[in-house]
Amino acid sequence: MIERGESLWMDARRRLFQNRAAVFGLAVVCVLVALAIFTPYLAPYDYDRQDLALGAAAPSAAHPFGTDSLGRDLLTRMLYGSRISLLVGFLATLVSMGIGVTYGAVSGYLGGRTDGILMRTVDILYALPFIFFVIILMVYFGRSLVNLFIALGCIQWLTMARIVRGQVISLKQKEFVEAAVAMGVSTPSIVFRHLVPNVLGPIIVYATLTVPTVMLEEAFISFLGLGVQPPMSSWGLLMSDGVKHLELEPWLILFPGFFLSLTLFSLNFLGDGLRDALDPRYRSD
């Protein structure tokens, strides 16, 4: 019998599906993404439809999660909020991936003095309390969604840059890079066509762990009233509203809080599972 060779990705998939916590995380994330995508068809009401006569009502058959003080359906607002929260999470992660991967790969491949300067800059930036800059950015450049995910993406790329740089440094001595150089492939092409695809594992793992961090920061900023603005909704915004009505309408904080925690929980489990699955040090050989 010839044993079929197992690629890194097949091996990783098998290991991922053996990890129960990671499968749970993956399932929750898939459900959430599906709910967010199909929100316009699923939501029982419009996200800004008010029912002032009803006001704040406890969960009931008509409003499974209750309503807020303006009579808006909480389930609907949470569904629409999940779109914003997930969108900011994924887009900001993409922004941070773009910056971090480019920066790290270029720095690692060029090496020498360029690498020294680039990495020293990262060290300096690490020391800055970035969330203050996000707050300043949001206040002074307008509280729009685009500003929010650009600002969040711009502060999350440092670790990604370090990871990619380390991987690229260990890869650039390999024969395939030497061969590419010998064939006269241009430097940008070596970095992005030959090196980056080989570091995809760590990039994916770290990106998965960046998504919950960014979602948390979005919620933090919106909670302070500096992020997503009403009548739009995001989970952080819903919670800051819930805190104001804590005593009489506790469901306004309990539902968004629970789902935010569940999402962060799932994404972290998934990220940990992916790391265990993709980290070659743990591979079964």
Binding site: I124, A127, L128, P129, I131, F132, F133, I135, I136, L137, V139, Y140, F141, P212, L216, A219, F220, F223, L224, G225, L226, G236, M239, S240, G242, V243, L246, E247, P250, I253, L254, G257, L260, S261, L264, F265, N268
Partner: protein
Amino acid sequence: MLKFVLKRLIGAIPVLWIIATLTFFMIRLAPGGPFDQDKNLPPDIMKNIEAKYHLDEPLPQQYTRYMKSLLRLDLGPSFKYANRTVNDIIAAAFPVSAELALWALMFALLVGVGAGTVASLHPGTWKDHSAMGLAMAGVCTPNFVLGPVLVLVFSLWLGWLPVAGWYGAADRILPAITLGAIYAAYVARLTRGGMLEILRQDFIRTARAKGLPESQVIIRHAFRGGLLPTVTFLGPAIAGIVTGSLVVELIFDIPGLGRFFVQSALNRDYTMVMGTALFYAVLIIFMNILVDIAYACLDPRVRYD
């Protein structure tokens, strides 16, 4: 040792300069000014106000003026709180934030190290699983979720603790737990990992073999190496606690610096925002240097250069 500290302190200077410059230009280049909301002001008065705060000068001149005053450790007057300087406001509000942070840090360390140590001594048992399960939940519960839930349960439903305010000792409990919980969770995980590693070592077996009581083995022998990962984490933890206090001070209505920062960010109080951000940056940088020194003291393998 002295050289190491000096080197770190000198290294902090360009960082501070970058922060000061960044905040200055970010705020000045943004549309809208601090007095835009006072729309009814006649132009003459507006001019006077601008002249008073030197807002009518060209930008480079404002920049050098600000940098010079920073060298004198003067953060300038507040734009919104009339007749108060930023230094005054920080001096009044920061002790409150510092106290809150201290309680939160103590909670995080006591609970985290305690739970982590117990878990590492009984790996695989219910003690380990329940401690680590709680820690996992703690890591994924942001403070602005935990805070309101704690208030709901312990203040509104059970009536044991005050809802908000900053007067007596009972007011400290919920904010400190809210702010410290997530770090307690991280510390517990790190302590467990570090201790598991150390407890396997030969010198621990030797200590036990020569008949030392278990408490001595743990405190005198295992902690020194087992807590190293925890000490490394203190830097980010302090930075996180400082940041987290923005939200916790809002939730519990605590008159600390975090609340002032958010307020002045909303009010476009230029000097307040710059001053507070700079102050926080200095704080975090120096805390990190302190942590590095503590780490070097604990681990003889760390060289000072």
